[in-house]
Structure formats: structure tokens, C-alpha cells
Subunit: 484 residues, 2 copies
């Protein structure tokens, strides 16, 4: 218990200060830390391994839906960034400018990409001539820079890693289908792999991507009741294709501008994962994403050392053979209790304890990080039982998050009540909205809540529903929350 305290000492409790809990957890688990560059982080190996697993799951789905990866320049010439008016207005204030190379001034300043619509559109203009060249279905994994005033590890950093899909289509219908297809890929991947339930919906005018016709998002809820935007899918219409003159000769022999989409998720998902599932002992990682799914801790005295270590290594080899990401913590410099706490803090889903008495009895003890439940598993069954236990862990973790989201989703018809909910329990709040920016602004000023999205399911106004500010008939049933 002493060792336990030592670990928990380092982590502020969630109730005391959730923000500090988050920072403590990220730093103490060596997921990331502050770099020497203001607003930028070092993603440390444990955090990067989580990101690699997330990447792999999204990338597989992109390829299964017909997309290919490519890579475009980091730099955006100033003249190019300026081509789409709304776009430049949205991004220019946060853009770093390269003005010199070595000792020489550049003739044209180069922006560091805040997103790649502009450089990619410049390429698409060259690549697309005929309807036969369509659709273009390309994704890029890249680093992105948006100079943030207030930063938070993973959630909001001046440089971050992401993927950005950029597609071109013959018709508006096809582009809208793609927009919704990728939104659904995002939802399914978040829920299946990251065990994070999300709400799909359309963003309001004020929250949409600079240059898009419509932005759709998946919104999740974190353990502190704040919402988080986990991914966005934009229907760009012909805004960029007209600004960049991307035309194709259609089958009917007339020239037309292509219809476009773009969509992205980023390393912010790692932050969401931590804040969604973690507890006062640290991380809880979903097995499908965890760099280490199970850790073996041998427990022995000098007399039993050889036998226990041998057995631990045997189990290690067996489980690896069964495709499990397993680690055997056979360090001799620290005691088992220290190891238990360290791996709990690091969110490893299952711990396998093996001691001389377990060997005698022909079983192993499995401890679940989620609820600290302990199970005895027959030694011979281990390699078969573990995958099922990991799947159950994944399902239970998702169900816990889903139940929490359900419990913290409320409905109101008044601004006062919304303010009350947001200042106490937080969570998602349904309310009628007349579609006016005035209501949005008033709600934000009074409660700090924003419209997360107009959900695809449930976003239609119910009979007689009124706007919670103006009292006018509601156009939408919108989802409000305070968000990161």
C-alpha cells in the first residue's frame, strides 16, 4: 500500500482538479511532455505507440473504403493560401511564416500548413482532366501547425499529427455520400477500437470548417462532463474547386468543377482516450489500442525464483504466440507491488500474477485494470482465455462510457436550466434552437456551452419545440455542451 501511495501521490485526484489530474497522468505515464518549443509537445514512446495503434485502425478502414495515401508539401505559398477567402480568414491568424532561408529573404513568404486543402487543390488541378479521373480518393498522414495561445498536451498543441482525407467527385451527391461515409468510418472506429461512444451530427454555421459548405462531426463526452470533437468530415461543395479551378470534362462533353470533401482526426484522440477512460490511478487503455495488453508479473522468493521466472517466460512466449501484445516484467530492481501500481497507472488492461503457489495449483491470477476484479485461470487455458478476456474488457469499457454518456445527457427548454446543468453536472444537453446565431452567442456568453452539433438522429425538432432563448419555433433539436 505504501508503494501505491507513492504512485498516486504523483497524480492529483479527478475530483480535486481534473485538469491537473490529466497533466499528471500524461507526464507520469510518459505519454508525452512539454518540449523546448513553446506549445509543442514531445510524444514519448508510450504515447506514440498508442497513436500508432490508432493510426493503423483508421488507415485500414481508409484503404478498405478505396482510399490511397500520398504526401504533399509542408509549405503553402502565401498566394495559394489566399485563394479561398473564408479559408484564409479562418487560418491566417495562427499561421507561422517562413520568410528566410539561411541568410536570404524569400521572394514569397511560405506558410506552414494549417491544413492542406490549398496545396492539394493545386495538385488536383493538374491531375484531373476527365470524368475518368474521378473520384480521387486520397489521404495524407502529416504534421500540422496552428499556433495556439493556450495549449494542452494532445488536446491542443501548436504542432500536432493527423490524417486529412481529400477527395474529388463528379457530383454533389457523390461528394455528400463520401462525407457521410467517412463520418460513419470515424464513428465506427472510435466506438469499436477506442471504446468511445460518439454522437454524429452537423455543425452550426459558426462552428464549421473555414471554406466548407457543411461540417459534420463526431462528438464525445469525457469523464469530467466536458464534450470533445473527435473528428470532422467536411462537404466542401465547389468552394475550393472554383477558387483553384479544378475542372473536368464530363461524359456530356461539358467542363465542370469537381465536388470535394475533406475529413480528419488527429493526435487529439489520444487526449480524448485518456480523459474518457482514465481514473485516479492513471490510464485505462482499451485493449485494441493498448501497446501492452497484458503484463506478466512474477512473484517469488529466492527459493522459488528460478521456477517462477521460467514459468513467467513460458507464459510470455505462449501469449505472444497467440498474438497478444504481452510484456513480462522480470525486473529485479523493484518489487511486485511497485510493478502492479506502475502498470495500473499505465493502463495495461490485464495483469497476470504468477507465483510458486499458482504454479503448484496449475493456474494464474488475472487482475483487470477496469474494476480490479481477479480471476483464476487454468494454466493450460491461458492462451485461449486471454483473447476473450480482452474482448470482454473492451466491451465493458465501451459500455461504461456509453452508460456515463447516457446518464449525462439531459434535456431542457430554458437557458437558466441549461446554465445550471452546465455549471454543475455538465454533460450533453438537448434543447430547441431556432437556427439563429444570436441564440448561439447568448448561450455561449451565459453558460460557456456551445452547440456541439445537430445530431443526425434526434436533431429534428419535436412537435411544438421552442428555441431556448428566443422562444421562437425551433428549427433544430441541438446538442449543447462545454467543450475542450
Amino acid at each position: 500500500m505504501e508503494k501505491k501511495k507513492e504512485f498516486e501521490q504523483g497524480i492529483t485526484s479527478q475530483k480535486e482538479d481534473f485538469s491537473q489530474w490529466y497533466i499528471d497522468t500524461v507526464l507520469k505515464t510518459a505519454m508525452a511532455d512539454y518540449s523546448c518549443v513553446r506549445g509543442c509537445m514531445n510524444i514519448r514512446p508510450y504515447g506514440y505507440a498508442v497513436w500508432e495503434n490508432i493510426q493503423a485502425e483508421f488507415d485500414r478502414r481508409f484503404k478498405e473504403t478505396g482510399h490511397e495515401n500520398a504526401y504533399f508539401p509542408l509549405f503553402v505559398p502565401e498566394s495559394l493560401l489566399m485563394k479561398e477567402a473564408e479559408h484564409v480568414e479562418g487560418f491566417a491568424p495562427e499561421v507561422p511564416w517562413v520568410t528566410h532561408v539561411g541568410g536570404e529573404a524569400l521572394t514569397e513568404r511560405l506558410a506552414i500548413r494549417p491544413t492542406s486543402e490549398t496545396v492539394i487543390c493545386a495538385a488536383y488541378k493538374e491531375w484531373i482532366q476527365s470524368y475518368r479521373d474521378l473520384p480521387v480518393l486520397i489521404n495524407q498522414w502529416a504534421n500540422i501547425v496552428r499556433w495556439e495561445k493556450r495549449t494542452r498536451l494532445f488536446l491542443r498543441t501548436s504542432e500536432f499529427l493527423w490524417q486529412e482525407g481529400h477527395t474529388c467527385h463528379r457530383t454533389a451527391e457523390e461528394a455528400m455520400e463520401e462525407t457521410m461515409r467517412m463520418l460513419e468510418v470515424y464513428r465506427e472506429c472510435c466506438e469499436t477500437e477506442l471504446a468511445m461512444p460518439v454522437v454524429k451530427g452537423r455543425k452550426s454555421e459558426s462552428e464549421k470548417f473555414a471554406g466548407a459548405v457543411e461540417t459534420y462531426s463526431i462528438e464525445g463526452l469525457l469523464a469530467d462532463g466536458n464534450a470533445i470533437q473527435n473528428g470532422t468530415s467536411h462537404f466542401l461543395g465547389q468552394n475550393f474547386s472554383k477558387a483553384f479551378d479544378i475542372k473536368f470534362l464530363d461524359e456530356d462533353n461539358t467542363e465542370k468543377h469537381v465536388w470535394q470533401t475533406s475529413w480528419g482526426v488527429s493526435t487529439r484522440l489520444v487526449g480524448a482516450l485518456i480523459m474518457r477512460h482514465g481514473d485516479d490511478s492513471g490510464l485505462i487503455l482499451p485493449p485494441r489500442i493498448a501497446p501492452i495488453q497484458a503484463v506478466i508479473v512474477p512473484v517469488y522468493k529466492e527459493a522459488s525464483k528460478t521456477a517462477v521466472l521460467e514459468e513467467a517466460h513460458k507464459i510470455h512466449a505462449e501469449l505472444r504466440g497467440a498474438g497478444i501484445r504481452v510484456k513480462c516484467d522480470d525486473r529485479e530492481t523493484v518489487r511486485p507491488g511497485f510493478k502492479y501500481n506502475e502498470w495500473e497507472m499505465k493502463g495495461v488492461p490485464l495483469r497476470i500474477e504468477i507465483g510458486p503457489r499458482d504454479i503448484e495449483k496449475g493456474h494464474a491470477v488475472i487482475a483487470r485494470r477496469l474494476d480490479r476484479e481477479k480471476t483464476f485461470v487454468q494454466r493450460a487455458e491461458l492462451a485461449k482465455a486471454l483473447p476473450a478476456m480482452l474482448e470482454r474488457f473492451q466491451a465493458d469499457l465501451f459500455e461504461r462510457a456509453r452508460a456515463d454518456m447516457e446518464e449525462n445527457t439531459r434535456e431542457t427548454s430554458t437557458l437558466d436550466e441549461l446554465a445550471e446543468i452546465i455549471s454543475t453536472q455538465r454533460g450533453f444537453v438537448w434543447a430547441g434552437w431556432d437556427g439563429s446565431p444570436e441564440t448561439e452567442a447568448e448561450v455561449k456568453e451565459k453558460t460557456k456551452a456551445t452547440i456541439r452539433n445537430i445530431p443526425l438522429e434526434g436533431g429534428e425538432p419535436t412537435q411544438g419545440l421552442k428555441d431556448l432563448v428566443s422562444g421562437k419555433p425551433a428549427k433544430h433539436r441541438a446538442l449543447f455542451a462545454r467543450a475542450y
Copy 2:
């Protein structure tokens, strides 16, 4: 044959103009093209798929040798870049500087990373306290910028993609072991996966990495007789750890500076691959790296269409099931001859032709891109035969490259003969070197050849060997060549 001409028209022959052949091949096969940003390229999906396969092979080996991936900032504060004197001298002239964000000037300029020793050392200083923290074995996949005056797609671009390993060790011996271990990983991966034979050796003082104590490289030879540096592994000694004050408390309770290495390969490998294996018809890709290992081309008339397409799709499913990266080109808009030429140009190792007579006879025709050899394979044997045929292709491609390198490796004892060889056949030339920079400079001026490296095997001077310029006793038997 007409269609064949149409394709080859687009590609200059290697003999006529190798540089133009290279550009034509890269552009026509849609591997990459010039972007809107000077000196930067768009890596198109086909080229990026090659890079992804190369990445996967290196990454697997890095992880097998105990390395983990991480990510560090794109930006290097000016004061940090300046810390290691040789390093800044080597890189400063090519560095882009960010001076403004949005409308505001920064208090300190930020360089875009030309390599990440500096930002990574700043992190290591914080992460490393005790000998227990060592070794640190970290790799980063990232984009890098070095502003090049003269660029060439893949080989030399202002922005490129690479991996950079950065490791810290307790002793000089351990760091040197790591340097050589990764050099060997590079050699083995290049030869096994990319089918490119290389020579391992040590760089001369003038060619070593800015800030390193020793640089080792793997050097390859291309189809035009020019050499190419395919990867480097640096023993950094304590140059950076002293400049950045990275210390650890050793077991003997004294503080010591760590010993470091760094090592990298980049998208330049894609260019090397093209120039090593390609011919006048375009690319030839090694099966282990090829995005498409085999392409099925159905050949039919109207009457046989349904049966042939059905059979082609069946073969496609079977081969995919066997783990082969296979494509079925069932386009109806172009004829089989056009498809043959297109996939030959794109370097797909094996083509499977299937027509009504083949179905009747129960076989398929396999055409090898390497030598256009055709084989009949029993239909029932296809899924079993293909993997073996791909392996043989890989082995034959490597052997062809190895034989070419052997044939184009010569030895000389005079500067005149070296000049003669370099101006005619080129290739590698062994010669005695007294170790002086004067000889290096003289050779470069007279022949444009440089010392590629002092090979680990064969680099010791033979009895009585003399420097080819000074006539003094040779310290080394060095490998000279003209290089990209």
C-alpha cells in the same frame, strides 16, 4: 506494338539521356511530380505506396532490435540549433526560418528541422538521470527540410520524409556497437527487400555528418554507373551530450555524459530503387516492395467475355487469399495490349494473362517484367506457384544488380586512369589513399569523383599500396565514384 510505342514515346531511353529517362519515368508512372512549392514534390499514391512498404520493412527491423518510435517538434529554436558548433555550420545555410506567426514577430526565430539531434537532445537531457535509464533507443519518422539549390525528384528535394534513430548509451563501446548494428540493419534491409546491393564503409572526414565523430554509410551503384548513398549511421561520441549537457549518474556514483548515435534513411531510397532496377520501358519493382506484385489481365472477345471475367475474378480472389498483392485490371475502356504496357511501365513484377483458350487448357500465362519470360502455370497450381515465382524474381533482380555492381567495380593506381574510368564507364573504383584531404580535393576537381567510403571489407591497404595522387604510402584502400 503501336500502343507500346505510345508508352515508350513518353520515356526517353536510358542511353540517350539517363536523367531525362528518370524524370520521364517518375512522372509517367505517377510516382511523384513537382509541387507548387519550389524544390518540394508531391509524392503520389503509387510512389507513396512504395515508400509505405519500405517504411514497414525498416520499422519492423527497428522494433526487432529494441527501438521504439516517438515524435519531436518540427521547430528548432535558434539558440538550440547553435549549441553544437560543427552541426550548425553544416546545416545553417539550408535552414528555413520562421520569423512571424499570423501578424506578430516571434521573439526567437524558429528553424524548420534539418535533422533532429538538437530538439531530441533537449528532451534527453530531461529524461535521462541514471544509468538505469540507458540505453535510450528511439526512432522518429518525420518530414525534414534542407533547402536545396538543385533538386531532383526523390533524390534531393527541399522537403523529404525519413526516419532518424537517436540513441544514448553508457559507454563508447555500446554506442559504437549500436552504430554498426544499425548500419548492418540498413545493409540487410536494402539487399533483402529492395534488392539493392550496397557497400558498408566509413566516410572520410570531409563527408561525415556535421557533429559526428564518425559516419558510416551504405553505398549503392545505379544503372548509369553513378553511386548513391542509401543510408548513414553516425557515432556521435559525446559531441552532443556535452553541448546539451546530457548526463547520467553511473553505477560507480559519478556523473558522466552519455555516448550517442544517430542513423537515417529517407525517401531518397525510392529514387535509388527506380534508378537501380528500371529500364527503357519504365520501372521494375522488387516484389517485396511492389504495391502490386501481380496484375491479372483478362483477354476476351464478346463471346468469351463473361467466362473470362469470371475466371479472372476467381483467380484474383484466390491470389489475395494467398496473401499476394494482386490487382485485376478489368477495365473495358482500354485493350489488353495497352494494359500490358501500362503495367510494365509501372514495374509490376508478374502479369497473369487469362483468355478463353487458357481456360480451356486449364492454365494461365505468366509474364515476368524482369526479362519478359513467359511461363504456363497450371490453373490449379497458381496460388501455390506465384509466391515462389515472386521470390525467384526478387532473387534474380538482386543477382542482376549484384553482377552489374561487380562488373562495374574496378581498381586503379593512377589519377589519369581514374579520370578515364569515371568519364566513360563510371562505377566504383578502388584506389589507394594516404588519408589526406588534398588527395580527396584533387581527385574531385580532376574527375568529379569522391570517396564514397572506406569499405569495412577491403578498405585496409594492401602491401605496398600507394596514394593515387601523392604517391605516398596508402593508409586506406578507398572506394571512389561519382555520386548523386
